[in-house]
């Protein structure tokens, strides 16, 4: 019974983490858009309630066919309560990530705090709602691919995983690198905050591919190659995404070769956060 009990909590944790992963996959580009937080500065309470209502309604609609739990909700009550949980996940992840990149501070007034959280929480809640659709993938396809893949050697797997991480990181990195948000966010961050962003990037990358028990997970664990230990895959993909981030920043001339070292480091880490999420998504999609 105790083992069964642990299973319950494990499943619940996996479900919640899948929701978190979905929130970041969908919401990261919005998090790095300053207009979103700016609008939050003067969102009236009436609009805030409306945003909250729209987020909840979207979750209810998405939960009919998707959601973040591995077991699909069946009754109306389940759909409604899963939507409450989804909204809570979106609010928590939006709040924590806004604190992480220094947009929410103590001296920010309650109006602006609530406004910023709610405007960012809307895309995050849609991300929670589509978590299963995006991350679970189709159930049959991995079977054939798995057999196909097992024939290859460790090098081939490593190469294909590296490639998909690169593509995902480039897709997200190149769309965010030229924006003003990178210098804006990076310039206000202390070294401790930068370390926290590194830790969060690693954590989110880890849960996206492993912890949340996604479609490809079981297959992944049985594959040889550099990307197969959860820790080594997370680290390798983070380093790749960080390298891509720096390359994109340099390509778009956000940083130049003669810029100070700490600017390279802080810009790279700030862009590395969404790029890593993109890289993890790339490995799932390929």
């Amino acid at each position: 019974m105790a083992g069964h009990n642990r299973q319950i909590w494990q499943t619940e944790l996996d479900d919640l983490m899948r929701g978190v992963a979905g929130a970041f996959l969908f919401g990261a580009p919005f998090l790095y858009t300053m207009e979103v937080w700016w609008k939050g500065n003067f969102t009236s309470p009436r609009h805030m309630m409306l945003i909250l209502g729209i987020a909840y309604l979207s979750l209810v609609l998405l939960n009919v066919k998707g959601g973040f739990r591995s077991e699909q909700a069946r009754t109306l009550g389940q759909i409604l309560s899963e939507s409450v949980e989804g909204l809570a996940i979106a609010l928590i992840t939006a709040t924590l990530s806004l604190i992480l990149i220094g947009i929410l501070r103590f001296e920010t007034g309650l109006d602006a705090i609530m406004g910023r959280i709610l405007t960012v929480a809307l895309p995050f809640s849609i991300g929670v709602g589509v978590a299963n659709n995006v991350l679970q993938g189709s159930e049959d396809e991995p079977q054939t691919r798995s057999r196909d893949r097992d024939r290859g050697n460790a090098w081939r797997h490593t190469l294909s995983d590296t490639g998909s991480t690169l593509l995902g990181a480039i897709a997200v990195g190149s769309s965010i690198a030229p924006t003003d948000e990178i210098p804006m966010i990076a310039s206000s961050l202390s070294p401790i905050r930068l370390l926290a962003i590194i830790a969060s990037s690693l954590f989110i990358s880890y849960i996206i591919v492993f912890q949340a028990n996604f479609g490809a997970q079981h297959r992944r664990r049985s594959q040889p190659g550099l990307f197969q230990g959860p820790i080594s895959e997370t680290l390798a993909s983070y380093l790749i995404s960080l390298a891509i981030s720096l390359l994109m920043l340099w390509l778009f001339q956000v940083v130049r070769l003669d810029d100070p070292f700490n600017q390279w480091v802080s810009y790279g880490i700030v862009l590395g956060f969404p790029s890593t999420i993109g890289g993890a998504a790339g490995r799932l999609a390929m």
Binding site: T11, L16, P45, A88
Partner: protein, 126 residues
């Protein structure tokens, strides 16, 4: 499936926490709603400790607090310093100062700004 599904316990814990959080958010928004923003932006300015460097530049940190209920945009803060017959001006603009929040900036003068007069010159309604 006649006995209660034990999975429900973990799920109900999540649901409980989620509901509490959501009620908290709704309560916070409602409290903002019920105390409508009637007061226009109103600023108080606090001076920090003056710092100087070798090039005879004096840095005066200022904290601008908006005590009103409405957000102000492009808030321009100006400091004027009377020095031996002439007046030295220094100003900075804050993009957004949300209601009941504070922002920080620094004004730079060439003389020690002990007698500086600080005032908000202008702001925009977002």
């Amino acid at each position: 499936m006649t006995k209660p599904d034990p999975r429900n316990r973990a799920e109900s814990v999540s649901l409980g926490i989620s509901l509490t959080l959501l009620i908290g958010v709704i309560a916070a928004v409602s409290s903002l709603w019920l105390s409508p923003s009637v007061n226009p932006p109103q600023f108080t300015i606090q001076r920090g400790v003056i710092r100087s460097d070798d090039d005879n530049a004096y840095y005066l940190p200022v904290t601008l607090t908006n005590d009103g209920d409405a957000t102000a945009a492009q808030v321009m803060l100006e400091g004027s310093l009377d020095t031996a017959g002439s007046e030295e001006l220094s100003s900075t603009t804050f993009d957004f100062v949300p209601a009941r929040s504070a922002v920080e900036g620094v004004l730079i003068f060439s003389q020690e700004p002990t007698t500086v007069t600080l005032r908000v010159v202008s702001y925009q309604r977002p």
